[in-house]
Amino acid sequence: MSPEYRPDEIARAWLVKMHGEDAPGLQAEFEAWLAASPEHRLSYDRAAQTLQQSAILKSSSRYGSARAGARSPLGHRRWLPAAGVAITALLLAALGVNVLMPASSRDSLIAARAAEPLITRRGEIRTFRLAGGATATLDTDSRLEFVDANNARHLRLARGLARFDFGDGAVPFRVEVGGSVISGDRAELDIGIADGSVIIMRVLSGSARMGSRAASSADGTILPQTKPLRVRELPPPDWPTGWSEHRSISLAALAREANRYAARPIIIDDGATGQLEVSGRFRISRPASLVNRLAKLFDLSVEKRADGIHLRRQ
């Protein structure tokens, strides 16, 4: 594929090719292209996310599988992401149609192909419904891959943080994270990864084991409930809501929590301001709004610069 094309165009071409029957023969060349530049990976993720979001069209009365001449969809090889009405509107607009949107986005759960990773952008928290009733909620800037296209419970967390709910216990689950594997039958748990290793591991209910990828899942250490394992910086238990509740937290610590979602980080310019304590429930997934509220509360000045949003005493 020629270098005169932009990375996004090449990424789309790869995405299309890797959905075709020539994919196995192109795998090595594709992986070499992906590894050649971080920009390639970003472009490919963007294209994959676009394709993944297009699955919402299945719920469209005009373009879904109920439309005239459409074949019934296959009943396997699928999971169900919870998609937004806004995305549907944009996709339908891209197809060249004006439609009235359905009243309930919860009714528009649809299937996508297991070849596509589940990805969230920075600042986004999104829940995907997996086959068999399980769910995966991805925190900001996360990537979840399907190791086995025929088994939506054999997953690999490549980036970020995810809350899995395998509460139905229908089929054993297996989540690869760096060199580790977390497995079990029935559990709700948080798993996070950074620099190729598990940094957050919290079992909220049920049970899970953690072992090395080389060993069988039955050989792993049984993980205790509630007591987190291998924690670098534990997010609040209710992180999937985008809110964080504290009896007392310093502005510096709160800014660190919010910066996980920020396109432009919150920067506290002086130590005294960073040590100010606040209590309450904060919407850390909306950093810009949080900054304005904190500035009003403590009478701080807010300055937006190229490197971030600066907070300081007036």
Binding site: R6, P7, D8, E9, R12, A13, L15, V16, K17, H19, G20, E21, S43, R46, A47, Q49, T50, L51, Q53, S54, A55, L57, K58, Y63, G64, S65, R67, A70, R71, P73, L74, I87, L90, L91, A93, A94, L95, G96, R113
Partner: protein, 52 residues
């Protein structure tokens, strides 16, 4: 989005037909199916504002 591009895209994404099945049904080459898929993705990326 052009009609032919839209039709190919929906057959693949909504009806879950493979490129070969679309080629057989529409009588176009697999390369043309891929061309329409790339074109559809470009349209959607542009509409979603994710194009760079």
């Amino acid at each position: 989005m052009p009609f032919k591009t839209r039709r190919v895209f929906l057959m693949h994404r909504v009806d879950e037909l493979s490129y070969r099945e679309i080629h057989e049904r529409l009588g176009i080459t697999i390369a043309t199916v891929e061309y329409h898929m790339m074109r559809a993705l470009a349209h959607i990326a542009n509409a979603l504002g994710v194009e760079r």
